[in-house]
Amino acid sequence: MSGEAKHTTPAPGATEAEPLFQVRDLSVVFDTPDGTVQVVDSVNLKVSAGRTLGLVGESGSGKSVTCLAALGLLASRGRVTGGKVMFNGRDLLKIDDAEMSKLRGCEVAMVFQDPMVSLNPVRTIGWQISESIFLHQGLSRDAAAKRTIELLDMVGIPNSKSRVLEYPHQFSGGMSQRAMIAMAIACQPKLLIADEPTTALDVTIQAQILELLSDLKKELNMALILITHDLGVIAEAADDVAVMYAGRVVEEAQVLDLFDAPLHHYTLGLLNSLPRVDRKIDRLSAIEGAAPPPQEFVTGCRFEPRCGHCNASCTGTRPEFTDISATHRVACKHPMSVSS
């Protein structure tokens, strides 16, 4: 199979159809003892059924908070101050808690980074997975137990019949993550948000989990949001990519476009600073400085202090998005030239 064939291009007319999940101008603030800090600043995201949106950024860029806020899972200090989160025609920020609980874990599911922390240590794996089926689908305990075994088979856990009776400490990291994924897909969600699902795992296991997620996405025709700091994982698994920096999305593109012709200087800097296993690089070209903490976010371009291409126009006002093509847009006043 050629490399090209593995990238799904959107069906004709798909761009006009309403995406399954859409975040519009979402802003989130956190109340701290030192005042209110804005950690997510007018973020827009969208993902359609059957596609994977890769959300990439460094720690503190707001990628996890955006998704947590969208699902009403913010810690008590966090507040949404504006925007809409449209899912299947409904605004998730407007529905009440009971409706949200019904939706979460059923139509929308989430998988987190550390499976060992997400699982309950005093309940068997089988109990935890069937709980979700029991609650959301109204199946009997027996039927739920049967379905649990099917799910474990689906996510590739061997000897599923005996392993449902085991406890989380008897599972390895990779197997726990598979169990978490089984729990997430138990009700055949339309949207799965995976927050750094492979970061705590070894590379050989990471490869297995990414393959599993991509197979499940196809099988269940889910929309998948993959949050990661690793551009390698993005290249491996995403169809569309949104790059976040300091609480804002700075570039959006389809995966091939992003890697072939990155337009934002941050995206390019990030790509250039990656050490690569497939080629020899004499010296890594690091981006100078570090990403600012939310207390020091400015209104102008937030990458400006680390950018070599900025001038006076970059400070003061927020750079607007420029559409380079139907699927590629960048928030920079001096983007990399489109032709090069």
């Binding site: 070894d202 050989t204 490869a207 297995q208 890697f259």
Partner: protein
């Protein structure tokens, strides 16, 4: 294993080092299970080089780092540093030797004292080893601080006031201030963000050139290790399975595990997607290691010999050591050819 005469003298020689850890009892009066964390590893570290030690979690790579610095005692085997067996050195000898070797961990905040200012922490090794006079120590601290590219006003700050990248620079400055010969970096850049990671990797290689340091660079990240190492050793379940120059190891790996590991690393190039060969299964339990070659259950080339006999760690070609029964047959062949 003989060291040929043309090679420079090794800074550190590790010979057949073994470390067991005992686990829980099998029953109330039963024997304890034993994990073979490191199971007969021999290594030479040459002055000025970086040896990368890679492997998945639980393969024993961090245990090797601790054994090399004598932080834990080996069950058997020897570690010779500057001509002296450090596992047998007495207290005074050991105190002197210890200043020649330093360690940089993964989590800088955990390695720094939260109640001491940055300046005091960097100075501490000089006080402990009684190097120079008061004024000399202060100027050395400033010099070192500059060498790791930190602005001088941070000297009076506390660790929590610094970013992760800055903290790791402080840890590096503290490790290097007493001019060690050997630095063991155990996942030193793994916790850092990509853009900061590149800065610290560059800093480590600059300091190596400037100060003639020898690194043992322990990591799970093959991309970083390719960039920083002269030679790479790949570990699997307590043993080294392949050892070669970085370029040789990554361009022409022989051991099926090395090949699987390299192909599992996600490459930041969406066009490279199709070329992946995902290996099945998970690393075996060190309390219950498989017979023969530890990798046989996950290996596409395994036969009866692999299941029963431990492969010898032997030279295949120049400066390329492999522990695989099929190593000779695998040279020049890709993993998929055999399937």
């Amino acid at each position: 294993m003989k060291v040929t005469e043309t090679k420079p003298e090794a800074l550190m020689q590790v010979r057949d080092i073994v470390r067991h850890f005992s686990g829980p009892r099998t029953s109330f009066f039963g024997p304890r299970k034993v994990a073979h964390a490191v199971n007969g590893v021999s290594l030479d570290l040459y002055p000025g080089e970086t040896l990368g030690l890679v492997g998945e979690s639980g393969c024993g790579k961090s245990t090797i780092g601790q054994l090399l610095l004598n932080l834990i005692e080996p069950t058997s085997g020897s570690v010779t540093f500057l001509g002296q067996d450090i596992t047998k050195a007495d207290k005074t000898e050991w105190r002197r030797l210890r200043s020649e070797m330093q360690l940089v961990f993964q989590n800088p905040l955990g390695a720094l004292n939260p109640r001491l200012t940055i300046g005091k922490q960097i100075r501490e090794p000089l006080d402990i080893h009684d190097v120079g006079d008061e004024a000399g120590r202060d100027s050395k601290v400033q010099e070192m601080f500059e060498a790791v590219s930190l602005p001088p006003h941070l000297l009076a700050r506390y660790p929590h006031q610094l970013s992760g990248g800055q903290q790791q620079r402080v840890v590096i400055a503290r490790a290097l201030i007493i001019s060690p010969k050997l630095v063991v970096c155990d996942e030193s850049v793994s916790a850092l963000d990509v853009s900061v990671q590149a800065q610290v990797v560059n800093l480590l290689s600059d300091l190596q050139k400037k100060l003639g340091l020898t690194y043992l660079f322990i990591t799970h990240d093959l991309s970083v290790v390719r960039h920083i190492s002269n030679r790479i050793a790949v570990m699997y379940l307590g043993r080294i399975v392949e050892l070669a120059d970085s370029e040789t190891l990554l361009e022409n790996p022989i051991h099926p595990y090395t090949r699987a590991l390299i192909s599992a690393v996600p490459v930041p190039d969406p066009r490279a997607r199709a070329s992946r060969a995902v290996i099945k299964g998970e690393p075996p339990n060190p309390f219950n290691p498989p017979s023969g070659c530890a990798f046989h259950a996950r290996c596409a080339h395994a036969d009866t010999q692999c299941r029963t006999h431990l492969p010898e760690f032997r030279a295949i070609g120049e400066k390329h050591m492999v522990a695989c029964h099929h190593a000779e047959a695998l040279v020049g062949k890709s993993n998929t050819d055999a399937n």
